[in-house]
Structure formats: C-alpha cells, structure tokens
C-alpha cells in the first residue's frame, strides 16, 4: 500500500468516525493546509521521475478529490444533524392561542342596502339620496297628499316646528320629488335611507329604513313594475322561483296602487320564501300619480312610470331570520357580532350576494 493510499484510508476512517465540525476542519487543514499531507505531496510532483510523474499526479488528484468529497459530504451531514438538534430544541406548543385579533362587522341593514343596490344596479337603477329632515311639501303635498288628506293620519309624523312645516321624513318618497325636480326624465333610481314615524311597539320602531324605487320613461307600465319586483325579490332571496301577488291598495302618490305579497311557509321554525300558501306583505308600489308628475314639472302625457317602497329592515329580518325589529337599533354587542357581516363580504353580482 502506497503512502498515499495509507493517508487516504487513515483520514477516511477519521472523517467518518467524527461528529465534530471543528475536528473535520482540522482534518481539512491536516490534509490540504499549507503544510498539509496532501498539499505536501503536490509539492513533490516536480521532483518525481518523469516516467512516474504522470501516474503520481493522477493518483494524487484522485485521492485529493475523494477526500474532498468525503469531507464535504461529511460536513453537510453534520450540519444537518446539528440543525435538526436545534430544531428539536426550538419546538414549541403550536396549540397555544394566536395573538388577539378583533373582527369588525357590518350591520345587517347596511349589508342589505348593499345587496339591494347591487341587484338594482344590474337593471340600470342608480342610487339617490335625500335629507332626513324634510319640508312638509316634499314629504306630503308634492306627493299628492294635501293637508286635508286622511292618508296623512297613516303617517305618525315627527315635527320640528309648531307650524308643522319641518319634519322627519316619514318615507323615502320625497327623494322621488327631489330627484325629478332637479333632473330631466327619464329617471331610474333607488333611494335607500332612514325614515321616521312616531310609533313604537313590538313591530314598530320610531326609526326604520326604506328603499324607494322610481322608474319614469315613455312607455313604462304595470307589467314593467311587476317584472322589476319579481326580478328583485327572486334575486334578493336567492331563490329560483317565487310566488308573488299584487293586491290593489291605495297610496295618494301612486295610481293604480298595489301591495305586494310573497308566498312563504314555515319549515322547522324557519321561514321559507317562495313556497307554501301563506302570504306576507313586503312592499307597496304603483304607477306614479299624474298629479305627482305635474308637481315636479314632468309632463304626464309624455312620461309615466312606477314607484315602489320597501322596508329594508323587514327584508333583512326575513332573509336572515331576525325576529325582533327593535334589536336592530339596540347595539347589543352579541347581536351585532351574531348578525353582522364581515367587511370583506361585499355583495356583488359576479360573486353572489351572500356567501
């Protein structure tokens, strides 16, 4: 066995048996350092007889490569082992709780308004708004409800002055008046917002929410109204079909007027919309009265159309199984958390209204 082979064997053995990185580095030095065993051999190459030189050099390189490889792989091995030991030490209980996070919520009424806007957006309605404080003219007179009209009694009105000229709007219909006064036909708007009536009991709250709809154009008739509401109700309740009934009624600002019922049934204590033989009133609507159009300087001979008013809170109650209207405004943290929606959950057409 040549000297070289001997070195190789000896160090191979040493490298394999150690688990210590610094020892390995020492071996590296011993072999390939300036005065290292292998390095020294390389220095000898020049002094070796020419006939043997080639073989010597080739053997030496071979041994050098082998040892180098051995060293490197051993280093890697040891490093991995050491990391593993470190990782083992660092292990923690991942079942401990995460850092606190608080989740905000959107109120069901706001979510419902966004759902409604999203649905009507698809069929070309845009959103209008009006002030909460209205004058008596916009809230009543312009809507064909003059002072001596008994229909005024159906609205228990909050007044802000003794003369009863300023009031909290009792419905969103004055937005119709404002919109038509400032614009030019055609009109196709919805107007969601706060409304007020001095009425408070189990099913009435002095403040509630309505959404007004108005579509005025040249040839809009009751069939369009029926189609629009049918579309809306189906989309809103996210059902394939609904049962809907138009019932004659009376509002001073529409004629003909209708109240709309939807069919429902109670299954396992839950309300199912669109099935069953019970009826539930959900909105009032009709063709805008020619007197109203005249009041806002729209020519009823050229233009006609429909309007509707829907109780938003009631829609939210039906869709999301909320029993008590008054709980909407009591701000109970538990209630808000339970019925609220994640802020990222924006109702859209492409993703669907609700998850």
């Amino acid at each position: 066995m040549s000297y070289l082979t001997k070195i190789k064997n000896e160090f191979s053995e040493k490298i394999k048996s150690t688990t210590n990185l610094s020892e390995i580095n020492q071996f590296k030095l011993d072999l390939f350092g300036k005065e290292g065993l292998v390095s020294s051999e390389f220095k000898k190459i020049g002094s070796i007889a020419e006939s043997e030189r080639k073989k010597f050099a080739s053997d030496l390189n071979l041994i050098k490569d082998d040892l180098n490889e051995l060293l490197n792989s051993r280093i890697k091995e040891i490093e991995i082992k050491q990391i593993n030991i470190k990782l083992e030490k660092e292990k923690i209980d991942v079942t401990l709780p995460e850092r606190n996070f608080s989740r905000g919520k959107i109120h069901p009424v706001s979510q419902t308004i966004d759902e409604i806007s999203s649905i009507f957006s698809e069929i070309g309605f845009n959103v209008e708004e009006g002030p909460d404080v209205e004058n008596e003219y916009n809230n009543f007179t312009a809507l064909n409800t003059p002072d001596n009209h008994p229909a005024r009694d159906m609205h228990d009105t909050f007044y802000l002055d003794v003369k009863k000229e300023k009031l909290l709007r009792t419905h969103t219909s004055p937005v119709q008046i404002r919109t038509m006064m400032k614009g030019k036909a055609p009109f196709k708007i919805i107007a969601p917002g706060r409304t007020y009536r001095s009425d408070s009991d189990q099913t009435h709250s002095p403040m509630f929410h309505q959404v007004e709809g108005l579509h005025i154009d040249k040839n809009i008739n009751m069939g369009d109204l029926k189609g629009c509401l049918n579309y809306f109700i189906k989309e809103f309740f996210e059902v394939d079909k609904i049962k809907m009934r138009f019932r004659p009624s009376h509002f001073p600002f529409t004629e003909p007027s209708a109240e709309v019922d939807i069919g429902y049934e109670i299954k396992d204590g839950k309300i199912i919309i669109g099935e069953g033989d019970k009826w539930l009133e959900i909105l009032g609507c009709g063709m805008v009265h020619p007197n109203v159009l005249k009041n806002v300087k729209v020519d009823p001979k050229k233009y006609q159309g429909y309007a509707f008013g829907i109780g938003i809170d009631r829609l939210a109650m039906l869709k999301y199984g909320i029993n008590d209207l008054r709980s909407f405004f009591e701000c109970d943290y538990r209630w808000l958390n339970h019925f609220g929606f994640d802020p990222i959950d924006v109702p859209t057409n492409y993703r669907g209204l609700s998850r």
Binding site: E134, L160, L336
Partner: protein
Amino acid sequence: MKITYDWLKDHLKTNKSEKILVDKLTDIGLEVESIDDVSSDLDKFLVAKILKAKKHPNADRLKVCNVDIGNKKTCEVVCGAPNAKEGLLTIYAPPGAIIPKNNMKLSVTKIRDVTSYGMLCSEAELNLSNESDGIIELKKNEFDKKVGKKYFQKKNSNLIDLSITPNRPDCLGVRGIARDLAAAGFGKFKIYKQKKIKFRGNKKIKVKISKEKNQGCFAFGSCLINNVKNIESPKWLKDKLISIGQKPISAIVDVTNYIMLDQNRPLHAYDADKIKKGIVIRNSKNGEKFKALNNKEYKLSEGMCVISDGNGVLGLGGIIGGTTTGTEFNTKNVLLESAYFSPRSIRKTSKNLNIDTDAKFRFERGIDPLSIEEGLIKAAELIAEICGGEINKIDIQNISKFKSTEIKFDINSFQKTSGFKISNKVMTKILNDLGFIVKSNRNFLNLKVPSWRPDITQEIDVIEELMRIYGYDKIKLIDPIKDRKTPTLKKSQKLFHFLQRSVAAKGYLEAITWSFTDSRVNDLFKSKNKNIEIVNPISSDLNVLRNSIFSNLIFYLNKNLNRDFKDLSLFEIGPVFYGSNPGEQETVIGGLRSGKVSRLSWIEKERNVDIFDIKKDVFQTLVEAGYEKSKFFVDDKTPDYYHPGKSGRVFLNKGKDKVVAYFGEIHPVIIKKMNIKTESLIGFEIFLDNLKESKKSLKDQKNKFSISDFQKSERDFAFIIDKNFDTQTLIDIIFNTDRELVKDVTIFDVYEGEKIPNGKKSIALNVNIQSLNKPLNEADLEKLNKLIIDNVERKTGAKIRS
C-alpha cells in the same frame, strides 16, 4: 270596517263560501285584516234556573245559589245580585267563559271561603244593555223549557275586519262593499228600491244654513217624527249590531247607527223638544263651549261648523252631538238629521279638538251627497216601525247643488298604463256595475261618476277601477332589461361604502342608532350647536336630533360595558344635524374604543387602548380611501368633549382645508357624568362631507411607476428640542431639506428625563435616503447629513445630540 257575511247578504245574492269571499275581498283591494269567530265565546252562556238561594255564611250581601244548568247538572254559584231568588230564570256563565263587557275569563274561585263555579250575569256584563243592577230575569213562558240551552243563538257568520283605504268612503258601509263584490263577479247586487212613503204631517223644525265664508255644511236634511216611544231595539237589530261588535243603546240610536253602518250614511237624532227656536248651522265663535255626547266639554275656536239653536251650540256638525239635545228613553219627538259636511272642514275641526268618531271618520273621507233623503226615509220608517209615531215631511236645506263628476275616458289609456287589453264591453260592464253611467263614443267613454265615489276625478282613477275589478293577476310580467346607462353610485356614495367597510375591517362593529337622542346626553357633545328639538317626541329621552354621532353611540357603548364586555370597538356612519332645515346635516363616521389591548394575553403585554391606536385607525382609513398621508396635517384644537391634551384634528392639507377628522380621549368629565366604567375610552370622527372627492378616478390617480435601484442609505439622528415642539413639524423640515433624496423619516424614540434638560425632549429618528438618478457616495451623504442638522437646528432651535 267590520262586517259579517250575513249582513253582506242583505245586499248580495250569493251562495259562495266564506273562504272565497275573503279571497275576493282581498283581490279587489278590500284587505281582510282578520276573521274573528265571535260566536264561539258566546256559546258558553247558558239559560239556567236558580233552584235555591241562601245567604252566604260569611257575607251579608252575597248569596250562594244552587243553579240548574240543564242536563241534570247543578252547581253552586256565589252571587251578589239582590234579585237572585229561588225559581229565577237567568243566564249562567261557566268557568272558562269570557265576559263580553270586560273580556275577563272566568275561573273557579273562592269567594269568602265558598267556592263559586261560574257566574250569573247582568245585562251590562253581556253588553245587552246598560242594566247592571241585578242579574238578567228571563221570561218564564219563553225560557222555562230552555234551561241548559245556549242563550245566544249560534251565528254562522264570522266577524270580518277589513282595512278600508282612505279613498273608499263608500266601502265604510256594507252596501258599498257588496256593490264592489258584485262588480267583481261575486254574487248579484240587490238593488234597493225606495218605497213610496206617506208622510203623516208637515210639521218641521226650522233649519237654516247660514251663508258665510268657509261654511262647512253644504246640505242639511231633517225629518221630525212625533209621538214616538223610544224602547230597546228588537232582537234582529240588536243582533245585527252585536254581530259586528257594536253595543245596542236604544231603538232611535241603534237605527241611526244601523243606517250608517249599512249604507255609510251618518245620521243624528235630536230630542226635538229640547231644541229652542229652530236650528242654525253656522261657524262657531271663539270661546263657545258645549258638552259632547262623550261627556267632555269642548271650547271652540272660530270657524268650526256647529249646529246651534236659540240656546247655543248643540253639536259639531258631522263629528259629535251634544248632551243637551240627545235622545233618551223618554224622548217623544225626534228630529233626524242627514247632512253633508265638507271633508276639509271636518278634518280641520276634529284635528283641532282631537276628536275621533265614526261619523267624523266617514265625513272626512266624503259621504255620498245624494244619500241625504234616502237615509232619512229609511231611518224614519224604521223608527216609526219600532217606536211608533208620525213621520212628517222631509225638509232639505242646501247652499250648493251637487254636480256629478264627468270624465271623458280614453279607452287606449287603459292599456298604456296596465300593459294589457280588455274589451270595451268588459270595461262598460265593470263601470256600470260600479255605478257609473257610461256612454260609448268611438275611442272614448263618457262617464258620469257615481255620487258615492268622491275619489274618482280623472282618467287614472278609472283605470285603477278597471284594473282592480278585472284583477291585478292579469297584469303581464315584463322582465327588466339588464342595461346600465349611469353609474350606480356617485363618488360620495362610493366613499361612504368604502369608509364604512374600511373602519369595520379594523375590528369595529357597526351600530345603527336613532337619529334622535336624549338632550341631556346630546348636551355633552353638541359643542356650539343648538338643540334641534322634536315638537312631538316619542319619549322625553328621544327629544332632540343628534348634533354628534357620539350622543347615542356612547350611550350604547356604555350599555355594553354594563353587560360586562370590556374591550369594545363600535362605530356608526350616519347623519348628524346642525340645523332644523332640510339639508342641515352631514355624514359622519364615529368610532369608539374602550378598555385594553391584549387583555389577559399569554404572549403580549397588556395595555390600555390609547390615542395612537385610534390615530392609526383614522390614518389608515384615510390612506386606504386614497388620501396622501404625507400631506396630512394635525393640530391639537378639538371640541370640548375630547381630552384637551390628548386629542387632535386632521386636515388633508396644511392650512387650506376643512377638518376631516378628530381623534382622542373622551373628556374625563363626560366619562364621569355618564358613569362609564372602563380603563380607557377613545373616539374618532371622520367628516365625509369635508373629504374632498378627487376628480380623477383611481386609474388616473396612479403616478408614473418609477423606482430606483441605487443603493439606499440610512442615517440616525437624535435632537434635543423644546418639549412642546411638534414632531410633525420636525419631520416636515427634514423632508423639505431635500425632497428628492429624503425618502422616509421614522421616529424611533421619544425621551424626556435624565440627561435631558428640563423643558426639552429627545427625539431619535431614522432618515431613509435614496436617489433616483445616481449612486450616492460618502461625500453626498455627508453633505445631506450636515444640511439636515443645520436646517433642524436653525429652524427649530434644536441641538443635535452627540
């Protein structure tokens, strides 16, 4: 409006079921509110006979009666009636029965230690009359064989309660409802034919309608009936009134009520002998008084339509009669009134005096002006039939003549509104059935509107009638077109939705609270605003419009704290008001946080929520909404409900803008006043109307994308500066030293105390430097370094800390 099917059948020939009736009523717009089975309650009342009546062992005035209740059963009943005696036939109510007078449900009770099984009833208790002294005494020959039988005959007809819309006065009478039903194909309308009446005399009481401005009475018909004997109404009439929940009073009053309910023709009956020197219908004078039949005295103001005689006001025409001339059982001569009062006058007076009666309700909606005579004759005949007496010739005074409404109806208008077609023949039939007189004229129908339909004045009213009777179910559904010509939301609306969700995303729960609030709470937050009072608040603690978003929010936050929640984040977005005129409102987002951050955390240090938490929420929200943080300007001038030293206000730009937000601790005095118990309470307000809307949309707002790949450098500085010096200004100065090279300034330490002179603070900051165009060498950096220090020292009086 309450009706029964039986009563309807007086006017309607039909044999359809009640279920079909109810559906039909709803279909034609006479909404059925409820159907009450009244008869079942009354079924329990039995004819009974007292077998023995002995004195109650523990009470002198009570008797213990042994009562035969039929079917060989007897029971013990304790009774206080003086007339309870052996052999008396009376009416027995068993335990479980509901007494009509007070709706009390009977149960087995002990009265002074004697158990009583049920009750023996007086007429008053059964709403049969006002007789409450003693129990009912039934006639022996009539009821002796009926012991144990039901006293009230089982009625087949349920009580149907209709919600009649205010445009349909004609349906406030059973006959009007029948007419509508018949037009819609439900049965055949029985047309009432007026019989010739023979008047027995020409006596009358002189009536004059004074001709004055705003006279509320247009016509006044009267009929004097002499020598009547006012008695209890016959059973058929009593039953009729009871069947719809009315209380029979006396024949004369019952007859007038019956005509009103049946034909919507209100009448009034006077005791003619109590009228002094004829009747004048005139406007009231200020201060006149009268006592109404509801036993209240009213003081009138000027211009109310009154019926008066030589002694003064007898009644308010069409609203309520007075006590002085009311009929009683001893009334001998009756004057019947059948008049027309204008809805406007009725409404004005009744609102003013706050009186609501059946007559007022009807006159206010409009009574058939041509029904005066028919009503008088029908009532007079009935009274004479029941009470005897001689009917005198009818007298009708009027100051204006009724003229029928005529409408030229364009046949095509129907389809234009309804979207479907019906034939002329069908149109004509429906209108005829409703009482219109129809003359066809090519494309038009010339219509004469029936006098009982004051609501029909123009074409659209006729269209509604046709659609209603023909059926709304015939309306063909036209699917909407999915087409959008204008954007759904305006910029301000988009901002609203964006901010709403942005704040919620920071852990706040959205609340919705009233727009009105308690002035006592509002006072704490209204700053310089005046209270905007509601004239008729629903309760004293909701008496003003809110001047601040906090007024209600803080109240409800406190409620939740009292529920034992501690670390709360609540917000609301909505209107606050600064005046009582329409539009004097602005949209605000207000948020409140209470308690601690990381309460009871195993990993993080617990601390109170503080102003910089909420400042972060405000800034992040504004930045997310697209506003540039580097331009924000903050100072410390805030409203008085914030902690004066721990609150700030935010502008989008230095100097020239409106306040867009406040943030800070809620003033400790308010926390104390409202008795709020929490470690910390911080709030913010963002004023949406003060946020400028960028004219550009987001796609245009993005700057050209330019980044630098040249080496970034950082330099740390520490300055010793006046304690009250704004860090904001310091940062500005550093940025302005070289707008191009200074990329960011970060404050990493603020320190006061040891080694720092009194009245000073040390601010340590890190400056991030990078050039867009070239690599910076040591000399460049050194130059900037020096510039920054020079600038800061010169402009602020600060000293660099060595």
